[in-house]
């Protein structure tokens, strides 16, 4: 059984086609990454999965049920815009959100204690939400999504706006959930996190699905034409060489997208400068993302 099965779903807001005939299957137990530029339809898709928005056409089934209302209790949700009651204590907010998922208080309290400890928030349990820093509030919001031990966890931009330490802590928490058997879908702009954590990646662009598969499959489709190069003189040396389609300058090294045979290009390069590093690489997810979403390539 798949955790989420979306079949040919479309959603339009007035003149704007937010999602256009998208199909997607999320296998149980996997971590699935949703990527795509701002305004491309990620959040709309997630809201339709959550049954907060109703699709204009197409079918969605979640955890084997055609209407998500029936399985809401088994789905944890972290919306893109964070929402916590400022005047409530951390514990009361978490309890309330847990109770709304139909879980008994005793069970929720155990989970609250466990998660607050795990995310270094144990001392904040009885403090008011308004006293938390932004990073802490975001971690509390994450806990709110998981205290009910959901079978499916949907996270909309879980790492945005976090410092590296907190982002790392949250990534570990997501992996912990996966180890407990939870299926996880998260949308992100952090391509590194998507590359590292996701088994499968789905990219939506202007309402259309443009990528869907494992990282390997995606990279293979875009591979065989990129070399990572470190030469004396840097990017200036590379500019204007025949066979170079584009250069992505990282400073200490450059990723070069090639038109022709990489070996022929290497021979030319050796004649022109001292080559310290030459490596045929798979394109990074970041490169693929930019290649698809770059406005000039429309």
């Amino acid at each position: 059984m798949s955790a989420i099965a979306i079949h040919n779903v479309s959603k339009r807001f007035g003149e704007h086609q937010a999602v256009n005939g998208v199909s997607l299957t999320v296998p149980e137990g996997s971590i699935y990454g949703f990527i795509g530029p701002n305004g491309s339809g990620k959040t709309t898709t997630i809201r339709m999965i959550m049954n907060i928005l109703i699709p204009d056409s197409g079918d969605i089934s979640v955890l084997g049920q055609p209407r998500t209302a029936n399985v809401r209790d088994d789905v944890g949700y972290l919306p893109e815009e964070r929402g916590l009651y400022k005047k409530m204590t951390v514990r009361r907010v978490l309890r309330y959100y847990g109770q709304l998922k139909g879980k008994p208080v005793a069970e929720i309290d155990v989970a609250i204690k466990d998660w607050l400890g795990r995310l270094q928030l144990a001392d904040w349990a009885d403090k008011k939400v308004e006293t938390l820093s932004k990073g802490m509030a975001q971690k509390v919001q994450f806990i709110a999504a998981v205290v009910s031990r959901p079978k499916l966890l949907i996270l909309d931009e879980p790492f945005s706006g976090l410092d590296p330490v907190n982002a790392e802590a949250l990534k570990d928490a997501v992996l912990e959930m996966r180890n407990r058997g939870t299926t996880i879908v998260f949308s992100t702009h952090d391509m590194n996190a998507a590359e590292r954590m996701c088994e499968r990646i789905f990219m939506i662009f202007k309402g259309n699905k443009v990528l869907d598969g494992t990282l390997d499959e995606i990279q293979k489709a875009y591979a065989h034409d990129t070399a990572r190069v470190r030469v004396t003189g840097g990017a200036a040396t590379l500019a204007g060489l025949p066979g170079v389609e584009s250069i992505n300058d990282h400073g200490n090294f450059q990723d070069v997208r090639l038109k022709g045979d990489p070996q022929a290009f290497l021979q030319q390069l050796v004649q022109r400068a001292a080559v310290q590093q030459f490596e045929i690489t798979k394109p990074s997810l970041h490169d693929i993302f930019v290649r698809i979403a770059r406005p000039t390539e429309e």
């Binding site: 907060i52 209790d73 949700y77 919306p79 964070r82 929402g83 009651y85 139909g102």
Partner: protein, 431 residues
């Protein structure tokens, strides 16, 4: 269903913990009772001072009467050796041949030095003047002090009138006797009991006639205002801090709306309970058990629940359609107007509970909880069919409002940006 209770519980707890609610529910009765105590205390204890005042008596005849009246007053305000009111001590000023202004400046100086409290100038022709007599002038530093000028006005007027009657050769006592007023006392109806005895008609008293209906009216108004503004604020907060979407990940908009409404119904009932307890205490301590009317309280509870649900869903729907407090302020004005109309209209009902306008208002759903409640609290009350029909209409209207509110809420709760116009709201209901 359990989700609705969870939301209701949270809403209830959040609301009753707000400062505004704590103030309205606890502090207000305390303040009111405190004020009554303070006023009666103040009346009994504050003013036992000796008030010395000088009299410039240009009639040359009135001072003795003033002195006699003051002596009488001073005796009356002295019980068992304790003063219960101010002591008035008049002194006559010998004018001699001095100019009026000189004397008045001199006396003013004495008042400033606290040797005197005030002084009075009685014009010469105050008794004899054929036209409207000139005013008696009262000079003081403490212009806010009323008892002395009031006493002077009464005392001097009585004396001056008496002298005018005397000089005209008319017996004032006779006039007073001929002018004696006859009062009209209002009674309820008489009835013959089953054993043939006649049950005495009860005298209608003002407390039952006005106080009781006003108590219900004000309580209803307070409950609706508390609930409506609180719901609006809460829903705006949830929208502004994006809590709504988290909640909608767990419950349907309808569950959310119903939970909130249930929560505030409990709040209004709590409010009513507190005030009824206060009322019961007042009945208990005054022994006015005839004022206790369980049927009336039951009606009130029905009206209160309907009013809370109806106004609650209106304000929730409006709140859900706004994205910030400023929008909400302008959106809520028409709804506030509904409440104010219902409240103001009630005063027409109090004047004449059986007039056709009062009957009409008590069938208009947004006014029913106020108008019908008042009519029921004022004897003889409306016919039973009117009461029942109005409640049926009210319940149907409440159900309709909650339904329409839920339709707006469902769309509004996820909306961001510009507040919708009224036609847009109507479109949401039909959508």
């Amino acid at each position: 269903m359990s989700r609705i209770f969870t939301i209701a519980q949270s809403e209830f707890l959040t609301l009753v913990k707000t400062k505004a609610f704590i103030i309205s529910i606890i502090l207000m009765p305390v303040l009111m009772v405190g004020l009554i105590f303070f006023m009666s205390f103040a009346e009994r204890h504050v003013d036992v001072e000796t008030r010395k005042f000088a009299v410039i008596d240009r009639t040359g005849t009135l001072f003795e009467s003033i002195r006699a009246a003051a002596t009488e007053h001073n005796q009356k305000t002295m019980t068992d050796g304790t003063r219960t009111g101010p002591e008035f001590v008049p002194s006559l000023i010998d004018v001699g041949g001095r100019a009026a202004d000189d004397i008045k400046v001199e006396l003013s100086e004495a008042v400033r030095k606290k040797d005197l409290f005030a002084f009075v100038e009685v014009p010469a022709d105050v008794i004899t003047s054929a036209a409207k007599p000139p005013d008696i002038a009262y000079y003081t530093e403490t212009t806010s002090y009323e008892p002395l000028p009031t006493w002077l006005r009464t005392t001097l007027n009585a004396e001056i009138t008496k002298r005018r009657f005397d000089s005209a050769g008319i017996d004032q006592a006779l006039i007073a006797r001929l002018n004696t007023r006859t009062d009209v006392t209002t009674f309820g109806l008489m009835a013959r009991a089953s054993d043939g005895t006649v049950a005495e008609a009860k005298e209608v008293d003002e407390v039952a006639r006005l106080f009781l209906p006003m108590f219900f009216l004000i309580l209803m108004f307070m409950a609706v205002m508390t609930v409506a503004t609180q719901l609006l604020n809460a829903i705006i907060e949830e929208k502004m801090s994006k809590i709504s979407e988290v909640l909608l990940g767990s419950v349907t908009p309808f569950q959310l709306l119903m939970g909130k409404l249930l929560g505030v119904v409990c709040v209004s009932l709590l409010l009513a309970l507190v005030y009824f307890s206060g009322g019961l205490y007042a009945i208990f301590s005054s022994g006015r058990w005839d004022l206790l009317n369980p049927a009336l309280i039951a009606w009130f509870v029905v009206f209160l629940i309907c009013a809370t649900l109806m106004y609650g869903s209106i304000f929730l729907a409006l709140g859900s359609a706004c994205s910030d407090l400023k929008d909400a302020q302008s959106m809520m004005q028409p709804a506030m107007l509904l409440i104010m109309l219902a409240y103001m209209g009630s005063f027409i009902v109090i004047r004449n509970p059986d007039s056709s306008i009062a009957v009409g208002m008590s069938f208009f759903p947004t006014m029913t909880p106020f108008s019908m409640m008042l009519r029921m609290a004022m004897p003889p009350g409306p016919p039973m069919w009117q009461a029942v029909l109005s409640v049926v209409v009210l319940i149907l209207a409440t159900a309709g409002t909650v339904w329409a509110g839920a339709r707006i809420f469902r769309v509004g709760i996820l909306m961001q940006g510009k507040a919708p116009t009224l036609p847009e709201l109507l479109k949401w209901i039909r959508a």
